[in-house]
């Protein structure tokens, strides 16, 4: 039995093509994935991401807990509302999950964790609270008594559309810099996203999500499926858990070094393993010069040895196939390499791992 978000009926009413997405009955598109992609790059689109799991971390030991739990350093969170992207590692330095941490007060943080990893993450966090004997309460907000829905509104016109539909929130959210959140009444509105565009991610009581979804649609915001979400995040060079990294992959080999705060004295789970192993691979972009489509798990042949594509698709913005890949050290941006697609070796160029943001190609 597939799990459903609170917007399931709304998706079906909008003729969404529904698929089994890791056990969730989710919209992959509402007609054309490519049109939805362009809507977000050029105007405004919205995604139901209520399958993702908000987690409230409350108590006097919040900072102590998060400081040891994740590889990024919550000491960077000094202003209320500020958000931090971080990887939660196991003892071997593999990525259990990647998450966003919102700092609200010194005794209250909110995390958002991935849908497919939510239960394992919660078990891990709970075990660490006990092991470290901390005064922290962990409450997931996806199911249970006070569930939240999450709607991501993304694109150059996203902010204006949200102000139009939720005018009472405008004063609090209009000036939000990227990667901040504000709480207004029942809304938790963050200037975060997974598309490389400006916009908001709105958490609200699950029972109110459908009314907001329909109001945004009436205001001209295009419903977009998880298909477009994937090509948008790929163009933006954002990692997808389970494809670009997992429990067997070090964040240093997944392009996430910028999220790992190694330098100071702070200890965190996985730190000693990362220090011992160092960086083994580099995480870079690829653009296919021949015709075809790059896909995950295809082999990349370079002078320095073989690498592997972790995510690949067709880029609607570039009109070419692009990919993220784990490649041997020594491969340089600009190198020409080959990708094995069904036994044929196709010409591919190594790029930095970001292709398009804010409406245009950056490559």
């Amino acid at each position: 039995m597939l799990k459903k978000t609170v917007l399931n009926t709304a998706h079906r009413a909008m003729n969404a093509r529904m698929v089994d997405f890791g056990g969730w009955d989710m919209p992959v598109n509402y007609g054309s994935q490519i049109e939805e992609h362009h809507a977000v790059r050029n105007n405004c689109g919205m995604f139901d991401v209520s399958h993702m799991c908000p987690v409230d971390v409350v108590g006097p030991d919040c900072r102590k807990f998060l400081s040891r739990l994740v590889a990024n350093d919550v000491a960077k969170l000094k202003v209320s509302g500020k958000a931090l992207y971080a990887a939660m590692l196991n003892d071997a330095g593999g990525v259990i999950d990647d998450l966003i941490i919102y700092f609200l007060t010194d005794t209250r943080f909110r995390l958002v964790i991935n849908a497919g990893t939510a239960l394992k993450d919660l078990d891990w966090m709970q075990a660490k609270v006990s092991e470290w004997k901390l005064d922290v309460t962990i409450t997931q907000r996806r199911d249970g008594n006070e569930p939240l829905g999450i709607i991501a509104v993304q694109g150059p016109n996203a902010r204006a559309k949200v102000w139009e539909v939720l005018p009472q929130t405008k004063a609090a959210i209009a000036e939000l810099k990227p990667f901040f959140a504000a709480e207004v009444d029942q809304y938790f509105i963050a200037s975060t996203g997974y598309t490389g565009e400006d916009g908001y991610e709105i958490m609200l009581p699950a029972g109110e999500a459908e009314a907001l979804w329909n109001a945004l649609n009436k205001a001209g915001v295009a419903p977009c499926g998880l298909g477009a979400r994937d090509t948008l995040r790929l163009e933006a060079g954002m990692n997808l858990y389970g494809q670009d990294m997992d429990e067997t992959v070090s964040p240093l080999d997944a392009g996430l070094s910028w999220t790992v705060a190694m330098k100071d004295e702070r200890d965190f789970v996985g730190k000693s393993a990362l220090t011992a192993a160092g960086q083994q691979k580099q995480f870079l972009g690829l653009i296919l010069l021949d015709k075809g489509v790059l896909r995950g798990h295809q082999q990349v042949i370079t002078k320095q040895g073989n690498g592997e594509i972790t995510s690949g698709s067709f880029s609607p913005t570039l009109q070419q196939s692009i990919a993220l890949a784990r490649l041997p050290l020594g491969v340089q941006i600009g190198d020409e390499v080959e990708v094995d697609i069904r036994g044929k070796l196709l010409k591919t160029k190594v790029t930095k791992p970001v292709f398009a943001r804010n409406g245009k190609a950056v490559i």
Binding site: R17, Q33, G227, G292, V293, S313, P316
Partner: protein
């Protein structure tokens, strides 16, 4: 609701076939298949002159979402490919029955009788 044409034959693997007056068979993917795949961005066609046994991979169609094999619905030799479909993969989304992929000369034209008719394919693809 996807479209199924009454004058065509179908394979369970979602190819359609049209028997031409010259004995050749035109093959494409069904409307149901293009709808399931979503926006197509790449079509790889077989080589003219190549022979394929039934149910062997003969072409590839890729959408933004996924790659899918196209199978030879019956055994035969490729006589012509539709380069226009490879140049504009979206034409298969627009009309899967107009944007054919290849033509083949069947080893045994009677093989066509074993394929699904429109009603049987409709039932299968629902």
């Amino acid at each position: 609701m996807s479209n199924v044409l009454a004058n065509l034959k179908y394979a369970a693997s979602h190819e359609w076939m049209l028997l031409n007056a010259d004995g050749s068979v035109t093959v494409g993917i069904t409307d149901h298949a293009q709808e399931a795949l979503g926006d197509l961005v790449f079509v790889e066609l077989p080589e003219v002159g190549a022979h394929f046994d039934a149910e062997k991979e003969i072409a590839v169609v890729e959408s933004v979402k996924a790659a899918a094999d196209v199978y030879a619905p019956i055994s035969g030799t490729v006589t012509e490919v539709n380069q226009a479909a490879a140049d504009a993969p979206e034409s298969v989304n627009q009309d899967a029955y107009a944007a054919w992929l290849f033509k083949m000369t069947p080893d045994n034209v009677a093989d066509l009788d074993k394929m699904l008719d429109a009603a049987a394919y409709q039932a299968l693809s629902e």
